[in-house]
């Protein structure tokens, strides 16, 4: 954490803001989402490969936001935000992953009808 400042505008979290960084964040996120949109509209990939590619683009977009918009790094002013995020990300993955895994198991053991499904989802 940064020390005390008599001028609030001199605080590191205020000083870290920069127009070029925010504009770079906007351009990179839009470009990555645009790439994901093009892949989606082409419909020419296997579902598994498609999910991996689009998921990778989403990860890069989120990383871009973390660095360019939120300004997360290992400086004294930001280290605890970065650490708390890194410690929380596994909770996101565990929450969604375990829930999908449990219901996928349940679905396979209890549901009889699978032939009418028109498109794959994460449960299948």
């Amino acid at each position: 954490m940064a020390g005390s400042h008599s001028d609030p505008l001199a605080h590191p979290e205020v000083r870290m803001g920069g127009a070029l960084r925010y504009i770079a964040g906007f351009i990179s996120t839009v470009a990555l989402m645009g790439a994901a949109l093009i892949v989606t509209m082409r419909h020419d990939m296997a579902y598994q490969s498609y999910v991996e590619l689009v998921g990778g683009l989403a990860f890069l977009a989120l990383l871009s936001q973390a660095v360019l918009y939120y300004g997360l790094d290992i400086s004294k002013a930001q280290i605890w935000k970065s650490v708390s995020l890194i410690l929380t990300v596994p909770l996101f993955i565990i929450t969604v992953g375990l829930t999908v895994w449990m219901f996928q198991s349940l679905d396979h053991r209890t549901m009889l009808i699978t032939t009418t499904f028109q498109q794959p989802t994460l449960l299948q």
Binding site: M1, P8, F26, T29, V30, W80, V100, L122, L123
Partner: protein, 207 residues
Amino acid sequence: MAHQAAPGANTRLFHPGYEGHSQISARTLGFWLYMLSDALLFTALFAAYAVLDTPMNAAGGPIASQIVNPVEGFWQTIIILASVTSYSLATVAMKNGNRSGTMLGIVVALVLGAAFVAFGFNDLASLAAQGNGMDRSGYLSAYFVLILTHALHMIFGALWMLVMLVQIPRYGFNEMVVARLLNLRMFWQFQATVWVCVYIYVYMIGA
């Protein structure tokens, strides 16, 4: 080495007037931790959506590919990212002590945020008008709750912006106003982060 009193019953974790504290750092870190817990709320909604995103849970009603349009979603993505960028540029103006520039950036962010929410509500209203409201199926319940929870966050952020538009000319850039503006920047950015996840998972993988 400076003398430090041993922790005891009278130990205070935080003292508002203590010079060694940075009020802005304490407030932004506290708000950041709140946002991480808020992100866990969205994680639970995504988990529910993942479970209910099957034709069986659509109960004869529409599934994702029939109600979402990735191209329309892309326009919404651009709008919300433009809104976040406008607010972020407002904080750059704040860094330079420019009150009018800060307020202009917030107003633009507010207008773009309102356009984004209007897009979302229009989609939901169209679905409901076709008889596909949130009570139609388990899938639609998960879809509506996910989109509406995000929209409610956006509305709260917009109200917060209106409050700041009053406080900036009234109090100037004092410590409390600066801390609130920084927290609102994180909160507004967080909405774009959640939207990227919604767009990828609901609008693209579901399409």
